[in-house]
Chain length 491, copies 2
Amino acid sequence: MAKAAISPTREQDYPEWYQQVIKAADLADNSPVRGCMVIKPWGYGIWELMQKDLDRRFKETGHENAYFPLLIPLRFLEKEAQHVEGFAKECAVVTHHRLRAQDGKLIPDGKLDEPYIIRPTSETIIGEMYANWVQSYRDLPILINQWANVMRWEMRTRIFLRTSEFLWQEGHTVHETQAEAEEETKKMLGVYETFAKDVLAIPVFSGEKTSDERFPGAVNTYSIEAMMQDGKALQAGTSHFLGQNFSKASEIKFQDRDGNEQYAWTTSWGVSTRLVGALIMSHSDDNGLVLPPAVAPKQIVIVPIYRDESRDQVLAAVEKLKVELEKKNFRGESLRVRIDDRDLRGGEKNWEHIKKGVPLKVEIGPKDLEKGHVCVVRRDDAELKKCFISQEAFVSGVESELEDIQHSLYERALKFRDENTRDVSSLEELKAFFKREVGFVRVFWCEEAIGHAVCDEFKITPRCIIGGGQGKKCVFTGQPATAQVLFARSY
Amino acid sequence: MAKAAISPTREQDYPEWYQQVIKAADLADNSPVRGCMVIKPWGYGIWELMQKDLDRRFKETGHENAYFPLLIPLRFLEKEAQHVEGFAKECAVVTHHRLRAQDGKLIPDGKLDEPYIIRPTSETIIGEMYANWVQSYRDLPILINQWANVMRWEMRTRIFLRTSEFLWQEGHTVHETQAEAEEETKKMLGVYETFAKDVLAIPVFSGEKTSDERFPGAVNTYSIEAMMQDGKALQAGTSHFLGQNFSKASEIKFQDRDGNEQYAWTTSWGVSTRLVGALIMSHSDDNGLVLPPAVAPKQIVIVPIYRDESRDQVLAAVEKLKVELEKKNFRGESLRVRIDDRDLRGGEKNWEHIKKGVPLKVEIGPKDLEKGHVCVVRRDDAELKKCFISQEAFVSGVESELEDIQHSLYERALKFRDENTRDVSSLEELKAFFKREVGFVRVFWCEEAIGHAVCDEFKITPRCIIGGGQGKKCVFTGQPATAQVLFARSY
């Protein structure tokens, strides 16, 4: 097996391995702004592919995009009691509207009568607008999504996983009935689950959050939970049924079909650039990033290998191959192919593409041309085996090869997750598991167990409810169980 | 001619007409956040189409997208003297990082050691990152674009044209040589010019800004200038050659091919949601918005007309027509078609689509089905004439019909602009023009004319330099002219 390109390896130091993978793949950089990252082109390219695919799914389910202000007046935040509790503690506050020079320094000037916060999420400002737009049941449903930046003043940050500013989408919908809003909440959870599986090749558990883990102001929160390679859970998307809490706070009222005034039912749902972190920690190995073809900014890199005398011939051949490959499709889109003919040492180039996770690498030199074959390496192969195959066969099989990579990554992640997910039927078993191992456990549980000391002791939390608890006993309290719950350490 | 759907008309009150067109087309709304707008789905849909097209052009010219922090530490802003002059006066300042409740009110808490401003533009924060990324000429060029929100605390705001927060793209590039950076600056100006013409159907003048109109910190600024229907100029995009000003401020240095340390050469260029305002004011009429097909979120709306007994038959026919139309293309993309079978009075529906500027409206009722024809109305026709045409002919000709609309809008705007652009060879002529008329004048000019009293008197400004001044005399000063300059009142 090839020498690990990333130091430390996953086993040596998983958190540091994560940072090094990001650095080696040139995905993002720390910035001089506290807790904020810079997303570099390769990382942003992944996010763009995620956005494009999600955006299509949102539109197919009837949603439209819009844009609401970055700033939120404090009085809006005050309206929903739980919401303010959750978001007032860590937010960026705008208090002045200009600067002036004093002793050669710039200082804030022009104090605002009412400060604003930079949106940590937009329920309150969007609710304020919706209250103006909704008069009658004929104005419903409102099905709007926003792609935006948001800010939460996080104390401990980690690139992609937890940063003060991050990019996300937030869907905000308004409905005539509770049933419709609940259906929407679950529908969007389903969109996230399918997206995670089919596009990110990440298997997820999905379900309702326990009451202590709800979004501030929500009636129910649902999430998708993925297992990272260190056995920890990562919440990768959430969908909230907000009941009438925010419509009461913002006065979103409408005249119903019988002429009576009613409060509307609302939902919100979101995923963020955190998904890039989930992607990294799901598939990457000790040689760096591994990307599913669906979100690889380049799916194939062609590296010409030549000396001066063979230069023209080899370059012509790789150009021709690129054109042929670009006629092929992966999921309805032309293949994304790059020729890397930079004047760099071969080894440096070779490792760069490995570390960046390009799914397929193709090398062509004069000898390959003579033999009519190409040398192909699959990034998802931990051994990075070179495979020689006729150029014709490579081109004709490339679509299924990429599908196979996409599929294999999913299967591998699924196998890992299932091997590290345990059913546990007693507190002793649960303790024994988390003493020695990492991963998910499934337990039967009742609401009374919230805040149980064992959770603190092992730093585990309920991730989501994955089944009913009929006829079972709560592992924590011995009381009749109300649900089957997934527990894990989490990001 | 149909009764004007928008009141007041353009002639009665142009600024108010503009606001009413936005309202009638449901493009955007004022928000409770000072100077900030909400972009509603129809308006955002237009912006999305602009983004998609521009993004393709940027990528075709070798640029990649990335994302940089929203906040800028004050010390970065201080580095470039002219830049701070230009941007410190109207910006949102973040001074605290949490809120606490006091007497039932939320107040700012957790004062920051160093305040931040919300980016009004990102040269300084991006420059800081580039300084870390660039070591050698091998790291150049850097060709990066960012899609982002920015904020400038504007005192007088108008939706899309001047708002405190707006959406834009900002390209930021770094080059080894002055010549390369200058070439990039002009190349991107060319991209904007072509985009305005081919996609927005807006003819523009393009050229260098006079020295008093430069971007703060730039060596040269170039712009595209469009004429609105009130004869005023709207700066629709800018491209800046920044020389070494920002690389010196941010210490973007590299080792050149001879091993010497050099400051790099940088550029920046941007267009914003202001383009939506330009689009509205270029093509719309007294019945509301008129959209070029290239940026119409829906290009065709099909309105079924039926009574109970013909319902199924008519709905089946419109569904079939929609499928056929969606097989057709406009500029490589499937046509965007909507069926509007909402239960609304016909008149209300009819006027809604007119006010929203949908390029083609198709009505189908039982009689049309019998006769095998459809009733088509082109939005760009001021008379809104109904045209009956066989369904087959409509479908087979729809692509060229849309191209014809796109082309006609451009030709109409070009004719209007040219009719309202005058060559003027004396100060008296210039005064006479701006006393009685609106529009552009072309004059020969020298730098000494900057700040001439006539400009204040008539509230006109130099828009951009459109030619040389060899052998001519400055209209303002009588000195030898240095350039031919476009003058106008402007937004």
